[in-house]
């Protein structure tokens, strides 16, 4: 024995974060509810790289040769498919979770860029319809605010079976965000904690979904594209069943997808990352000979033009962003720092959407906070961000010799890790090895 002092040693099993969570649970007797998305490290598109042109491939000239970005969604059955100028859409986020200014900012930016926004679990607001030229109307399990007039006013219909942040879970909006207007739209008492259902009230399995889609098409005279949104879990089967049920578009949300409020345990422990989910979805579509006939929109952790290019190279037709769009509006920006601190957090770490006290005025119904996000200013920020993403994706596509983002292909990709190679189904860099498939 010596009396030498050893440095403090942390437990890998009981890390400071785990200890703090156990202490919190013991104090409160309830799971942690928060916003944002999974915070754990996951395999992502960052684990892939693109193979730019060289002797064996010919690149396109940046700034001189065109690289198209448009996409058409809903070509399978809809009389009026949606034409978008860029393959980056804005994901469904409810009025209620978001304030009216944030919704309007999303709509204005999307309209300026020629893309779409999506309603969310709370119905369609007039501001949203006015500001967003192409608006996707969600049909959710809660059916809050659901009505045939808005169904017809939407440009597409998205039946939400699940979302990546919480596949198998329902919506959640805590009482502090249920203002008079939000409560009125949802036919609920003001100020109560609202936990909406995880399953639809009038259909359960894929055969019922087929009939539900038929009903929605009949109500809207077969004009609107019908999307089916799923959280990524058993993706191969879910995509196949959505196609069988008659979807025009499948929206696939990986586990990095965000939310306004749900249990932390759900965010971190349910679902599969976007990376393998895209591959599984594309394989399912190809097996059914429906790739490109039923369009695939991928969401969950899309942040950059590189993510867009890689998702499209893997076979997606478009991507969708939620959290990243809110970050462009100012989420987690280092302003109003005292308000972050009052929530017990700091810029860069905030996930307090559920409190309704968003320091930057996005996920709030408090007028004084909402004023911090003038819709015109927010729209400018998001438009700049979307423009940047598109330029980045075009840069990468041109380097691969592609005159359209959709011409990117899996052969343009290799993986930096064995895990990513297995999940994405592309070779490990410097090899022709795709784990699970043997050498080619």
């Amino acid at each position: 024995m010596t009396d030498d002092k050893l440095p403090p040693r942390r437990s890998a099993s009981f890390s400071p974060e785990v200890l703090a969570e156990i202490h919190r649970a013991a104090n409160q007797g309830v799971y942690e509810i928060r916003g944002f998305g999974a915070k754990r490290a996951l395999p992502t598109f960052d684990d892939l790289v693109l193979l730019g042109a060289s002797v064996s491939r010919y690149p396109l000239e940046g700034y001189r040769e065109k690289c198209e970005t448009n996409v058409t969604l809903g070509t399978r059955f809809a009389k009026k498919p949606i034409e978008l100028k860029i393959p980056i859409t804005i994901a469904g986020m409810s009025f209620g979770s978001l304030g009216a200014n944030a919704k309007e900012a999303l709509g204005r930016a999307a309209t300026g860029m020629g893309t779409s926004t999506t309603t969310g679990d709370g119905g369609m607001t007039e501001e949203e319809r006015q500001s967003s030229k192409t608006l996707v109307y969600q049909v959710l399990p809660s059916r809050y605010g659901m009505n045939p007039d808005d169904l017809r006013r939407g440009d597409a219909i998205e039946i939400v079976r699940g979302q990546g942040a919480k596949p198998g879970g329902g919506g959640m909006l805590l009482g502090q965000k249920i203002t008079e207007r939000v409560a009125g739209m949802r036919s609920l008492p003001e100020g109560i904690d609202q936990r909406s259902a995880s399953s639809h009230p009038d259909w359960t399995g894929p055969d019922d979904l087929t009939i539900k889609i038929k009903e929605l098409r009949e109500i809207t005279d077969w004009e609107k594209p019908v999307y089916v949104k799923i959280g990524a879990t058993r993706t191969r089967y879910d995509v196949a069943l959505a196609v069988k049920a008659g979807a025009d578009v499948v929206v696939l949300d990986g586990m990095q997808g965000g939310t306004g409020a749900t249990q932390d345990v759900f965010l971190e422990h349910v679902g599969i990352p976007t990376l393998p989910a895209v591959r599984l979805a594309v394989e399912a579509l190809k097996e059914l000979d429906m790739h490109r006939e039923v369009q695939l929109i991928v969401s969950g952790g899309i942040r950059t033009g590189a993510d867009v290019a890689k998702a499209l190279a893997m076979g997606a037709d478009a991507v969708s962003i939620g959290t990243a769009a809110l970050v462009a509006l100012g989420c987690n920006k280092a302003v109003h720092i005292e308000d972050y601190q009052a929530l017990g957090t700091e810029p860069g770490y905030c996930h307090h959407c559920h409190t309704g006290l968003c320091p930057v005025g996005i996920t709030t119904q408090v007028p004084e906070l909402e004023e911090r996000l003038p819709p015109e200013h927010g729209a400018r920020l998001l438009k700049n961000y979307l423009t940047t993403m598109v330029l980045e994706a075009q840069t990468l596509a041109r380097a691969c010799g592609k005159s359209h983002l959709h011409n990117l292909e899996p052969e343009d990709l290799v993986a930096l890790t064995i895990e990513a190679a297995a999940m994405a189904g592309v070779p490990l860099a410097g090899t022709d090895w795709i784990p699970g498939r043997g050498a080619t």
């Binding site: 059916r143 045939p148 009482g175 109560i192 259902a197 009230p201 009038d202 019922d208 009949e218």
Partner: protein, 227 residues
């Protein structure tokens, strides 16, 4: 009266003809024969027309109805009158699951039995069932009234919000946060009005009232076993 034979006319043409009347304020009589269990018959109507359907219908008959009065002379499949906004749907037979799901207004009268989840997620519709209803009826019911002349299956009104339920027969069991409440003169009057509007020959005597205990409106660790 316009008569449409669904064995000769396809569903799309029928619904389109009915939609072509949407927004009109004139009464119009329609009779649909040989529905043969077809799904999505007379969905998305938006005019004060009368539609009579002679025979059984499939899922979602009268879905999202506004203003129209639809009478089904037969049994119906899932989700009859789902998300109804206004108007009246009368079923002269039994209804399958999720009758009136998420309905926001108007009235649905079922002159027979209804299966499970009758009135699920209802948001203002009034549903009157002369017979019995199955389990999980009025699940997550937010607003409106569910009147049941017969018996009720398990877990009535689970997670109910502000909807009101009246039952004449036996209740197998109540769901989370649903409790029996006093049948006050005001509620008796309310029930009489509903029965009269429904045009059913039922005496309001003997009905009991159920609604929300409002204990789950805010999370309380001591009520966790109710979730």
């Amino acid at each position: 009266m316009t008569v449409i034979d669904l064995s000769k006319t396809n569903l799309r043409d029928l619904n389109q003809r009915l939609h072509d009347l949407n927004g009109a304020d004139r009464t119009n009589e329609w009779r649909i024969t040989n529905p043969s269990g077809e799904h999505a018959i007379a969905v998305g109507l938006n005019a004060p027309i009368n539609v009579q359907i002679d025979g059984p219908v499939g899922y979602y008959c009268g879905g999202m109805n506004k203003d129209a009065e639809i009478t089904i002379n037969g049994h119906c499949g899932w989700g009859v009158g789902e998300n109804i906004m206004s108007g009246l749907i009368r079923v002269m037979g039994n209804a399958s699951e999720s009758a009136g799901a998420s309905g926001r207004g108007g009235m649905i009268v079922i002159e027979g039995d209804a299966s499970s989840r009758c009135g699920i997620s209802m948001k203002g519709v009034d549903i009157v069932v002369t017979g019995s209803v199955g389990h999980m009826s009025a699940f997550l019911a937010q607003k409106g009234h569910l009147v049941v002349g017969g018996d009720v299956g398990a877990d009535l009104g689970a997670s109910i919000y502000e909807a009101v339920i009246y039952v004449k027969g036996k209740v197998n069991s109540l769901g989370a946060d649903c409790v029996e409440k006093d049948m006050t003169p005001e509620h008796r009057e309310n029930l009489d009005r509903l029965l009269q509007e429904a045009g059913v020959d039922k005496d309001s005597n003997g009905f009991r009232r159920y609604g929300s205990a409002r204990k789950l409106y805010h999370f309380n660790v001591d009520h966790a076993d109710a979730y």
